[in-house]
């Protein structure tokens, strides 16, 4: 797997997360979201990013670790994966850092309540841990539905 070397750091609840900077198009302030009826709960709706209709996902909701309360710090990470452009709502987006492959550990089974399906690995930084998200899984709807039905049954 291709480990990221430059990552965008953002915060969900108290944890810090990172995604490969290559996948991030821009970071936007939250504007008014147009709701789309009858879609998954974690899809909050769509916003207009420079003429592109962009679906917005509440990342916390997606990772099943709660729901985002919108504040002045709330940001939308516009990410692109293949031909899909999606916005992720995060608590704050704080930093861009370099991490070396050597500092990355494989994901533990569950970290901060997030299932390891969504995680590439955990980067050990000085005094803190950074959870590296696997966007491909995060954005994959089919998989989500499977996970959901599994947890519902359990």
């Amino acid at each position: 797997m291709n480990e990221p070397s430059k990552v965008i750091v953002f915060q969900l609840n108290e944890e810090q997360y990172g995604v490969d900077i290559q996948q991030v198009l821009s970071i936007e302030k939250l504007t008014e979201i147009t709701k789309v009826p009858k879609t998954s709960d974690f899809i909050k709706g769509i916003i207009n990013i420079r003429g592109e209709i962009t679906p917005i996902i509440d990342l916390k909701d997606r990772l099943q670790i709660g729901e985002t309360e919108y504040t002045n710090d709330t940001r939308v990470l516009i990410v692109q994966l293949k031909d899909i452009q999606v916005g992720l709502i995060v608590d704050t987006a704080s930093d861009v850092i370099d991490i070396s492959d050597a500092s990355i550990d494989p994901p533990p089974k569950v970290i901060g309540g997030v299932s390891d399906n969504f995680i590439i690995g955990v980067a050990k930084l000085t005094e803190r841990l950074l959870i590296l998200l696997d966007l491909e899984h995060v954005l994959n709807l089919d998989e989500m539905n499977e996970i959901k039905s599994v947890t519902d049954e359990a």
């Binding site: 009826p37 009858k38 420079r50 592109e52 452009q85």
Partner: protein, 677 residues
């Protein structure tokens, strides 16, 4: 050579030429005497051969090469146009199409063409096409001592050259028998020839010369200002040349028959003094290219991208308009107004850029009908009108298959066999009409046949059998309600499953495709008089007139094409039937659907209490079914740009897309199809 960058041009042009060959073949079948048509086919085949050769698709060029030979014979009245012959040419065409498509989908365009090549060679030699099994050789090595045959076009070139003081010579060069590198010698001879004039014809053909596919002798027709002797001398200076003979070319040669000849075009080596001759030549060869030069090919993605960028301009325009009216500076307002007008014109231009004539789809049908009528032993005449009607490119791409399906259906089930038709007192030949026209914001495509019509009883019987309707329901249905049943899924009226239609896929696919394009299909039919399918399509998919409505804090757009009327409904006019809210709309009971409930729009306290106010209803129609959509407010009509919700959402219920409003916010576009019951 890296040819990748040319592939698209090659594909586009190949398709164009194949289409031209197709059209002309069909014409030729009707008017077998017309040699100008053969000329057209020849020209297309020739261009195709050249292009394929350059791109390295040898199978295409070898097949077109043989086609040319045969066409040449027809053109010179040495071969009569027979159905067999046309059939073979059509199968060549099909093979060529397959090869081109294979290239388009990333293949290598290779295909075994030897069978067809054999057949063509057999025809060339005057055998019956069926009994063919000719061998590869013998075509290139015709007796070159004979006078070369000059066709009309070359004659014109020669005549014109003469007027300008050129002489036309036929020169026959014989190489030494032990010559080692014939090809190199030939090349040297050509260099000399082209230095002194222009070669307009060779025998054997240039290709064969290049492949050393000739004996020791070849002939050329040369246009030059020099004398015959000086040219001869120059050629003799090349080593390993045994003999050079030359004769001035007389007019009398023009119609002399000969079995092998080729034109060559050397347009890429302009020589000053022959320029005029060449220009003449070019004009003659490709009158089409002249007109084409005024248009360029643009990738549709680029237009889409331009459109996207432009939409941003439109949004900013909206903001500017707001700002300028707020500031109230008169010069500013003037400028902004002017900009709005200009940008509206630009918007229209951009939309027309996406429009293409429906001809692209229609022109594959004549051949299809020809094939079908052969397979089914029916006589069918296809009449096409309105092929120039323009439609959005996206619609064009999608509408082909449904039309094929409907036409096959009409031919297979609609039009009867000649015998049956005679018994019914109709002409033996069935008529199929394909018509396209604009009307308002829509384009209509009609497929009308004069066949047996739809058998109501059979349809009903089948529908009951397949559980689409119950017997009681069926009895109450009017004819107009019965016919659409053939478009229900799992329905097929053909008693026998045939190759042509009725493979169980059914017409429901047709209906689905058309509806997904925002269109509708209507059916009318008179027993023994024929049936008519009318497809209504939106003019363009990317822009539509819509009514904006408010539900709580959300704004929705409802396409105007669906809207029958808007009504303000008093609370007491709202009724309930079996728990379903309904209203009385001109004597009709129309079910009501609340957008707020369907889309689960969260309400605010304020609106939840006022149950006593008039309700705003948008009455939408689908076919003859009406439904009232309850909204909060009407906001007015607007041209909106339809944007897809993207791949991330799959099939959102009752939403066909979204649009960006003037203030940059997004409004969803409602698809009333899903809400009408």
């Amino acid at each position: 050579m890296d040819t990748n960058q040319y592939i698209e041009v090659f594909l586009d042009e190949s398709r164009e030429h194949l289409q031209a060959i197709n059209d002309h073949l069909l014409e030729l079948e009707k008017e077998s005497e017309d040699t100008t048509i053969v000329g057209e086919i020849f020209r297309s085949a020739h261009t195709l051969k050249g292009m394929a050769g350059t791109m390295g698709y040898e199978d295409i060029s070898s097949l077109t090469h043989k086609m040319e030979n045969v066409l040449d014979l027809i053109r010179n009245h040495q071969l009569a146009v027979a159905t067999d012959l046309i059939d073979i040419l059509f199968s060549c065409l099909e093979t060529l199409e397959e090869m081109v498509e294979s290239i388009a989908s990333g293949g290598d365009g290779k295909k075994d063409v030897s069978q067809l090549v054999h057949q063509l060679e057999a025809i060339e030699k005057g055998e019956q096409p069926e009994t063919s099994n000719g061998d590869q050789e013998a075509t290139g090595t015709a007796d070159t001592l004979e006078n070369l045959e000059i066709d009309e076009y070359q004659k014109t070139v020669i005549d014109q050259a003469r007027d300008q003081g050129y002489h036309a010579f036929q020169i026959t060069v014989t190489l030494n028998e032990d010559c080692m590198l014939k090809q190199a010698r030939v090349f040297m001879v050509f260099e000399v020839l082209e230095d002194s004039g222009e070669v307009i014809k060779t025998s054997p053909s240039v290709e064969e010369l290049e492949e050393e596919d000739f004996n020791d002798q070849f002939s050329v027709v040369l246009l030059t200002q020099e004398t015959l002797d000086s040219v001869k001398d120059k050629i003799m200076k090349i080593s390993e040349i045994k003999q050079v003979e030359g004769t001035p070319l007389e007019d009398s040669h023009v119609h002399m028959p000969n079995d092998e000849k080729k034109e060559i075009h050397r347009e890429n080596e302009p020589q000053e003094k022959q320029k005029e001759v060449k220009e003449e030549q070019k004009q003659q060869q490709s009158p089409k290219r002249q007109t084409q030069s005024k248009s360029i090919r643009v990738n549709i993605d680029r237009i889409d991208h331009l459109m996207n960028l432009f939409e941003e301009v439109v949004i900013d325009r909206g903001r500017l308009e707001e700002l300028s009216s707020k500031i109230g500076h008169s010069e500013l307002i003037e400028t902004v107004e002017h900009m709005s007008r200009v940008s509206k014109d630009m918007q229209n231009m951009m939309l027309t850029m996406r429009m293409v004539p429906i001809e692209q789809v229609f022109n594959r049908f004549p051949r299809m009908i020809r094939g079908l009528s052969k397979d089914l032993d029916k006589k069918i005449e296809l009449e096409i009108s309105g092929a120039e009607t323009e439609l959005d490119r996206t619609v064009i791409d999608e509408i082909g298959d449904p039309l094929v399906h409907l036409i096959r259906n009409s031919v297979d089930h609609g039009i009867e066999s000649p015998q049956e038709r005679r018994e019914k007192g109709k002409t033996e030949e069935g008529h199929l009409q394909l018509k396209a026209y604009h009307n308002g914001n829509h384009v209509y495509i009609e497929i009308e046949d004069d066949g047996a019509g739809i058998n109501r009883d059979k349809v009903v019987e089948k529908a009951i059998k397949n559980g689409i309707v119950t017997e009681e329901e069926a009895e109450k249905l009017s004819d107009e309600e019965v016919y659409p049943l053939i478009f229900s899924s799992g329905f097929s009226t053909a008693e026998q499953v045939s190759d042509i239609s009725g493979r169980g896929v059914g017409l429901d696919v047709v209906k689905n495709t058309i509806e997904s394009l925002g269109g509708q299909i209507f059916t009318t039919s008179v027993p023994d008089n024929g049936s008519k399918f009318t497809i209504q399509l939106p003019l363009t998919l990317s822009i539509l007139s819509a009514m904006l409505v408010n539900v709580e804090r959300e704004t929705y757009a409802i396409p105007l094409s669906f809207i029958e009327e808007t009504v303000m409904l008093k609370p007491e006019e709202k009724m309930s039937v079996n728990g379903q809210a309904v209203m009385d709309f001109r004597g009709k009971v129309v079910p009501l659907v609340s957008i707020q409930e369907v889309f689960e729009v969260p309400g605010t306290e304020e609106t939840e209490q006022n149950g006593n106010q008039d309700e705003a209803i948008v009455v939408v129609k689908k076919g003859d079914k009406l439904t009232g959509l309850i909204v909060d407010h009407f906001m007015g009509q607007k041209e909106v740009v339809l944007k897809s919700l993207g791949n991330y959402f799959k099939d959102v219920f009752a939403i066909s897309g979204a649009t960006i409003l003037g203030d940059g916010s997004i409004s969803l576009i409602i698809d009333p199809n899903a809400l009408i019951k």
